[in-house]
């Protein structure tokens, strides 16, 4: 279980996390979204005990987290993390020696699946392959909580699809909390169960993916009709084209009429509506 209580983290004048509170209890895949500089990596690093908070408390399984007390149950994987420049077979063996929970068989099986050459040294790999090795090290670590920062960076579409399958298999095989920070919103939406959106260091949204499917939609039509139809609803963004208006709504669904159309809102559009430069409204 993960708990953030009023966490503030600043880097001098810049505030990365601002009274950030969040509680994660259930195993599952959590998609972490936010614009660049929103505080995602700071959130992940404070959770992993890689950096300290300025104030506030973080608990993992009831234990306070800090750089003095890095949580043993958490494995943080940065896509560009540097590793020992060993042959991959030796690197996985070293990880196995260094971590009693490491699943060496799982690592080897999936290295083969991703066509990783175990005889190659880490520094000889392409950026995408290095990312895959880092991700495999994390997924094989046997930890209860995995924190992945941009895990598909540098992956081609085939690798990305295999990665999402692997993520789901890994969670089915051994339930765990997996928090994935990414910008590939719609792809991640296929596998994530919950969504966390951060903006300007604050928690903007924390909800079930199903909730988004049900409550996030777009109303399009003549401006007056649309405004009338969405009156009292939570509007998270809007676009205008001539006399036509599209409003992005996050609220109870309304039915379409001959005056306006109601359509599904993709996660990417929902995200842009929520944290883009347009109309913004915090939803909790």
């Amino acid at each position: 279980m993960i708990e953030f209580k009023n966490v503030i983290k600043d880097y001098g004048k810049s505030i990365a996390l601002n009274y950030f509170s969040l509680s994660i209890e259930q195993p599952g895949i959590y998609c972490l979204l936010g614009r660049n500089g929103a505080g995602k990596t700071t959130f992940l690093k404070t959770l992993s005990g890689h950096i300290n908070t300025t104030s506030g408390d973080i608990y993992v399984n009831g234990r306070a987290v800090s750089t003095l007390a890095m949580p043993e149950d958490v494995h943080f994987i940065e896509s560009n993390a540097s590793q020992f420049n060993m042959k991959l077979a030796d690197l996985f063996r070293a990880a196995d020696d260094l971590n009693p929970l490491f699943d060496y068989g799982f690592a080897l099986r999936n290295a083969e699946r991703f066509k990783l050459d175990l005889k190659k040294r880490y520094n000889q790999l392409s950026f995408g392959m290095k990312t895959m090795v880092n991700t495999l090290l994390g997924l094989s670590s046997g930890k209860e909580i995995l924190v992945l920062d941009e895990p598909v960076m540098g992956f081609d579409p085939v690798m990305r699809r295999t990665f999402y399958e692997l993520l789901q298999e890994s969670c089915t095989e051994r339930p765990k909390i997996v928090i994935v920070s990414t910008h590939l919103i719609d792809e991640m939406a296929q596998v994530a169960e919950k969504l966390i959106i951060i903006n300007k260091g604050e928690l903007v949204l924390y909800t079930d993916m199903n909730d988004i499917d049900e409550k996030a939609y777009c109303v399009t039509g003549p401006a007056d009709s649309v405004r009338k139809a969405t009156e009292g609803l939570r509007i998270i963004g809007e676009t205008k084209a001539g006399g036509f208006l599209s409003q992005y709504v996050y609220d109870n669904r309304i039915t379409g009429s001959d005056k306006y159309a109601v359509s599904a809102l993709g996660l990417q559009d929902f995200f842009i509506g929520l944290v883009g430069d347009g109309k913004e409204e915090n939803i909790r």
Partner: protein, 227 residues
């Protein structure tokens, strides 16, 4: 313990720079032997047993500077990292002390028989050989361990404000203490304690105690260290 030993193994294996520099220095030392040998060993030269010390020095610098982060990326616990490093320094100090002693007893001893030959070994310079070979081995081991621990700790604290303070203090001690006679005497006493002390047991205990204290203190910055 198994994990700590694995840390030692991985750390020693991943010291390419240190291995290469040490190998180059040893080769340089061997060629120096050949050159001095052709001259009848009349020009003073450094004992070959001292060259492997370079590896320990580089290990103590490169481990916290380069390998710490890699260990953390592989999700190692910080206390296992500290244990693994300590085991590495102890084993290496032990091994290097033995190597130098063997060189001192064999190669250096045979060269020393040549009239007016000049071979330099710290066992003689520091006066450790005067206490007998067994004590000399332990004196050397304790000193090497202290050297490794001090370097490891100094590099570890460099990312903290107090690391800079320690650097300034060390430079200050060198600059201020040396020219002023009473302060110079203090400095002399300190070096006397860890290197030149007439009583070998005092020197060994002082080095081991200081190593333990400094290493235990260095756990604090390691635990505070950002990744």
């Amino acid at each position: 313990m198994k994990t700590a030993l694995a840390v030692t193994k991985v750390n020693l294996k991943n010291q390419t720079v240190a291995w290469i520099i040490t190998a180059v220095c040893i080769l340089g030392g061997l060629s120096n032997y050949l050159i001095s040998g052709s001259d009848g060993f009349k020009n003073p030269f450094l004992s070959i047993g001292l060259y492997p010390w370079i590896f320990l020095i580089l290990l103590a610098i490169l481990t916290p500077a380069r390998n710490f982060r890699k260990f953390m990326n592989i999700n190692l616990k910080k206390n296992e990292y500290m244990k693994g490093c300590a085991i590495g320094y102890i084993l290496l100090a032990w091994l290097l002390s033995a190597i130098n002693l063997v060189c001192y007893m064999t190669i250096d001893a045979s060269i020393a028989k040549i009239p007016s030959s000049g071979i330099i070994n710290l066992l003689d310079i520091f006066g450790w050989a005067d206490h007998g070979l067994l004590l000399a081995f332990f004196q050397q081991f304790a000193f090497l361990l202290l050297l490794a621990v001090v370097l490891h700790s100094l590099i570890t604290i460099q990312t903290f404000w107090y690391g800079i303070v320690v650097d300034v203090v060390i430079i200050g001690i060198i600059v201020i203490f040396i020219p002023i006679a009473p302060l110079r005497a203090v400095l002399k006493d300190a070096f006397n304690l860890i290197i030149f002390h007439q009583n070998a047991a005092v020197q060994i205990v002082a080095c081991l105690a200081l190593s333990a204290i400094i290493y235990l203190l260095s756990i604090i910055p390691v635990r505070q260290k950002r990744i």
